[in-house]
């Protein structure tokens, strides 16, 4: 087992299993525990769940390896990928992947069965933790604490970029200075942020709401029924609505009084006022769709 850990490791602490060695390592008198992930990570297999599950499994394996770097101390982690072990998959009659099996030691004081325990891979919030609990409950005397592997290469890129950025500031500063010092850009940025937040963007972000949804008749539903739900499209529409309303208010407050042509001014004021009225009425209309009991409305779209 040690040799295997040394000779054919996929990555530190994880044994790469194949058709050749699989039967030997799981064969009956075992004085060690073995966790095997039967997976199909190759991209052409299209196993989304396999790739999703792999990081958590590697984290667990790494954590064990971190504390027991030399010889595994009676618990080993292996991966049998479909491309290395088609025969084994057939022999075990596995039709789906990924599977996580835990082989308990069959020797020793509290010996376990020959057959493995199957960990059911389902969407729980803390995957690594639940895998660890599963292993701990089936392999006696094992305790795993999570050690996250720091990937320094990932850290290095931003640091380098930041340093490069700092270095180049001296040269490009004259060019970006007007951008940094432009009030309009900061104002635009602030307004966009505020409009995003006040139209429920964070809700979409946290709840992963769909952009639109289908309704019962097979059509498309743009506006979610109900007061405390929303769709992505809906929030964008509301943000645009708010933006136009605010734009109208700003124009009335600052722009139109500065128009020095009488007719043009009157026209502009009329246009903006009508726009505000119509859009506000539309806003109230949409709000009434969400909240059936809401009693107030404004003319063009008052039902």
């Amino acid at each position: 087992m040690h040799k295997l850990l040394k000779s054919s490791s996929l990555r530190p602490g994880v044994i790469r299993l194949t058709d050749q060695n699989f039967d030997t390592v799981v064969s009956a008198p075992r004085d060690y525990g073995l966790v095997v992930l039967l997976t199909a990570e190759a991209p052409q297999m299209g196993c989304h769940l396999c790739r999703e599950f792999a990081p958590d499994y590697n984290l667990v394996a790494h954590s064990w390896h971190y504390e027991h770097p030399k010889d595994g101390d009676g618990l080993y982690f292996g991966v049998l990928d479909f491309k290395d072990g088609q025969k084994t998959f057939q022999k075990l009659q596995l039709k789906t992947a990924p599977n996580l099996w835990v082989y308990a030691p069959t020797l020793g004081d509290d010996a376990g069965p020959v057959k493995p325990f199957n960990y059911e891979i389902v969407g729980v919030p803390d995957v690594a933790g639940s895998v660890i609990r599963f292993i701990e409950s089936h392999v006696p005397g094992v305790q795993i604490t999570i050690h996250r592997q720091r990937d320094y290469s990932k850290l290095a890129v931003p640091v380098l970029l930041a340093l490069a950025g700092l270095g180049s500031i001296k040269f490009i500063y004259p060019f970006i200075r007007p951008v940094i010092e432009s009030r309009a850009i900061w104002a635009g940025l602030s307004l966009v942020l505020m409009l995003m937040f006040t139209s429920g963007h964070m809700f979409n972000n946290i709840r992963h709401t769909p952009y639109v949804a289908g309704d019962r008749n097979g059509g498309v539903q743009y506006i979610a029924p109900g007061f405390s739900s929303q769709y992505g499209f809906e929030t964008q529409a509301i943000a645009v609505l708010y933006a136009f309303l605010a734009f109208g208010a700003i124009s009335l407050a600052t722009k139109t009084p500065r128009i020095s042509n009488r007719t043009k001014q009157t026209m502009a004021i009329g246009t903006w006022s009508t726009m505000i009225l119509c859009l506000f009425s539309l806003l109230l209309f949409i709000f009434r769709l969400k909240n059936r009991g809401y009693p107030f409305s404004l003319p063009p779209m008052s039902k």
């Binding site: 505020m194 006040t198 405390s228 407050a253 506000f280």
Partner: protein, 762 residues
């Protein structure tokens, strides 16, 4: 009342002081009276959950002295652990009410402490309106201030947390928040350490009153930082910030609950860092001014940057070394929005910690939500130091409000202020009666109008440089003023409607409409709590889900296992486990915790949706966090992943204590009809309609009380059997005897009116 301030020509600039006072008093009156719906409809009663604890603590403070209040160890909650209450609460609210109570008493006005507590929030909202007026006046003008005061007085986003009876920290905290901000702006404008010290004083009050003080602790340093980066460092900034930070931090450390946090936790490190930065910048400015040679200036710059880097490294190093605590989970979950769901289910389970959908924003601020960006844009035009502050506040506030529903509260003031700025600018322009001379075909004007598209809204500076011409046509004035007055009228209507319909329910007492339109009061909670008070021994221990802990402590005056303080996750998980396990598993837990009674909330009969069966999954989840092997959420869902309570419910669900206690004897109410749960709209298995269903049997507990509409059900935990049998065997034996026809079954105590259930229409 609200339209009043609009009738003053704002162009006058200075409103008459008398008129201003009258308007402000009227606004305060409107703010207070619009918060009295619940008192008028129900009675002068403390609302909801947390206020009951605050009320209980206030009563303790009034009857004891201040120091024994701070040393208060409460052995009647979190049984058997107890809670160091004095050291784990923000005493500001209680001290405020106690002061008011004692000063009224000194004035020979004996007022019940309950009425002081009920009326505290409305009175402070009147003061908030005044402070908002002061704040906005600093930003723009008197008229904008009056508008802002009127807005904040009736905006539902603020009313939601400050109706009469909602005796919570937020009741005074928003007033303190706005006051601290006002004083900070004032200190910054004047560069005065006196105003800085005042800022610190009210910052201290805020720290004493609400955990949300961290918002101030971070927004003021952020403001200072942005000003420095914008190259607006000044001695005024130095004086204001240094005096606020040093005094405020020292003062805030006097609160037992806060203690050494200001120098040991990451939330406060920003303020400390900016304080250090200001010293460095101040020093380098001082040296720069006195050093002639260029080399020295370079030296100073290098030294400043080096020291800064050193300081940053020191903070990071101390954090890793564990001297500085990393961000607390609650605060951290604001940034990493997925964090709470995975790591702190208790926080994620609270409904007011959910993200905000857009209708809530509109519901809480109506038209102000779209005037808000317009106001911020107008602030960008002038961009004085205080405008920068409001802009930062606006962006941060809208982010936080988007992440958590309850933080709508901190957003509402800035929405009102910016809305008032926008609206008053419009009113300024269209009520200015000076009509410009008609200069139509002037060649100068043609040139101007040509320029107009290029000097569009994007070019803020150029826009302000163009002179204001004025409004030509009186019809334009009428159209704009008329439409906005209509919108304002609608705003008032909306606020009144929202306050009356959504935010004025005490939630302790519920109201429903009978078919003939009359209001029916559902008073089950108080009925049950008074039953507990009158019929159980004084040291009885009541187990319930944590939501009801404060109410049981406040109204029934009985010892609880867990309450809304939620400081001990494991203890809450224990209760969750006892509720979600089988009777045989729960009973030892109940015995170990000396539980005498279990209280469950059940809304299935009248359709009260906030009941325990709907919260049940959170109990399961929180218990699963501690005992993943014994409680599993998956077992409570049907194979198709549905949450069901009818005949398809999983065995785990049907055997759980909570399910049994909720539906025990429920089908009996319906006679020969099918038993329907009106909240989940599912049919409860009943032996009458479904021959395979067995009636729910409870062995280890017995029904002690069920309220009129079945909302509250109380069960007594049985003692150990006197013959040493297990309870199931004892019950079976009793049943057997009954079949022999000898014993008469005792009727359940607590008179619930059978078959007379009313339907709650909500």
């Amino acid at each position: 009342m609200i339209v009043l301030p609009l009738s003053i020509p704002p162009s006058a600039g200075q409103t008459l002081p008398l008129l201003r006072t009258v308007i402000l008093l009227t606004i305060a009156g409107a703010a207070i009276s619009s918060r009295l719906f619940s008192v008028a409809r129900f009675e002068s009663i403390i609302h909801e959950f947390d206020p009951w604890f605050n009320f209980r603590a206030t009563k303790y403070l009034v009857s004891h002295d201040f120091y024994s209040f701070l040393d208060w160890f409460d052995d009647r909650t979190w049984y058997p652990l107890g809670r160091v209450t004095g050291g784990t609460l923000y005493p500001g609210l209680m001290v405020t009410s106690a002061l008011i109570y004692h000063s009224l008493k000194a004035l020979t006005l004996p007022v019940d402490i309950r009425n002081v507590c009920v009326m505290l929030a409305p009175v402070f909202s009147g003061l908030t309106a005044y402070v908002t007026y002061l704040f906005t006046t600093e930003l723009k003008s008197d008229s904008a201030g009056l508008l802002a005061a009127a807005f904040i007085g009736i905006a539902p986003g603020y009313i939601s947390r400050s109706v009469a009876g909602s005796y919570d920290n937020e009741a005074i905290a928003i007033f303190l928040l706005m006051l601290t901000f006002y004083l900070w702006i004032k200190a910054l404008k004047l560069g005065s350490s006196f105003w800085g010290a005042l800022t610190a004083l009210f910052y201290f009050y805020m720290v004493a009153a609400w955990g949300g003080y961290v918002f101030i602790t971070n927004i003021i340093p952020l403001h200072a930082l942005v000003l420095i980066v914008m190259g607006r460092y000044s001695n005024r900034l130095y004086v204001a910030y240094s005096s606020w930070y040093s005094l405020g931090t020292l003062a805030s450390m006097q609160i037992p609950f806060v203690g050494f946090l200001p120098i040991r936790s990451s939330e406060h490190m920003g303020a400390l860092g900016v304080f250090g930065l200001l010293q460095l910048v101040g020093f380098s400015q001082y040296v720069r001014a006195r050093l002639p040679s260029r080399q020295f200036k370079v030296l100073v710059t290098v030294a400043t940057v080096g020291l800064l880097a050193l300081g940053a490294f020191a903070v990071v190093g101390l954090t890793f070394a564990g001297v500085i605590a990393p961000w607390t989970g609650r605060f951290y979950s604001l940034w990493d929005t997925g964090y709470a769901k995975i790591h702190i289910p208790i926080i994620a389970s609270v409904s007011e910690h959910q993200p905000t959908a857009w209708p809530s924003f509109f519901f809480d601020t109506h038209m102000l939500i779209w005037l808000f960006p317009a106001g911020v844009y107008l602030l960008f035009q002038q961009l004085r130091d205080e405008h920068v502050f409001v802009i930062i506040y606006a962006i941060l506030g809208s982010y936080f409000a988007g992440v958590m529903v309850r933080l709508m509260l901190t957003l509402t003031p800035v929405v009102c202020i910016c809305g008032a700025v926008a609206l008053s600018t419009i009113f300024d322009q269209y009520t200015n009666l000076a009509t410009p001379e008609s200069t139509r075909e002037d060649s100068q004007d043609v040139k101007d109008t040509k320029e107009e598209p290029s000097s569009s809204l994007l070019n803020i500076n150029a826009l302000t440089r163009t002179p204001v011409i004025g409004i030509f046509s009186p019809w334009s004035r009428v159209v704009v003023m008329g439409s906005f007055l209509v919108y304002l009228y609608m705003f008032v209507q909306h606020c009144t409607w929202v306050t009356s319909n959504a935010y004025s329910s005490p939630s302790v007492v519920l109201a429903s409409q009978l078919p003939d339109g009359s209001t029916h009061i559902i008073d089950d909670f108080r009925e049950a709590y008074y039953w507990l008070r009158k019929n159980t021994p004084e040291d009885a221990k009541i187990m319930s889900w944590w939501d009801y802990g404060y109410q049981i402590g406040g109204m029934a005056d009985r010892t609880t296992l867990v309450d809304n303080n939620t400081w001990n996750n494991t203890h809450i998980a224990t209760v969750g486990k006892a509720m979600s396990s089988r009777e045989e598993v729960s009973y030892p837990i109940l015995r170990k915790h000396d539980v005498d009674y279990i209280l469950v909330i059940f809304g299935g009969l009248i359709g009260y949706s906030g009941d325990d069966m709907n919260k049940f999954l959170w109990m399961v989840r929180i218990a699963e966090g501690i005992w993943p092997d014994e409680v599993q959420e998956r077992n409570f869902f049907t194979p198709r992943g549905e949450y069901r309570v009818d005949e398809q419910a999983t065995p785990t669900m049907r055997n759980s204590m909570m399910y049994k206690m909720s539906y025990y004897r429920f089908p009996d109410l319906f006679g020969r009809q099918e038993a329907r749960d009106r909240v989940r709209n599912q049919r409860i298995p009943s032996p009458v309609t479904d021959s395979s269903a067995a009636p729910i049997q409870l062995n280890t507990v017995q029904e002690a009380f069920t309220s009129e509409n079945w909302i509250v059900r109380i069960y007594k935990v049985k003692d150990l059997d006197i013959f040493g049998r297990d309870h199931a065997a004892a019950m079976a034996f009793e049943e057997g005897k009954k079949k022999g026809g000898r014993t008469i079954r005792a009727p359940p105590s607590g008179g619930h009116a059978k078959g007379k259930a009313r339907v709650l229409r909500v």
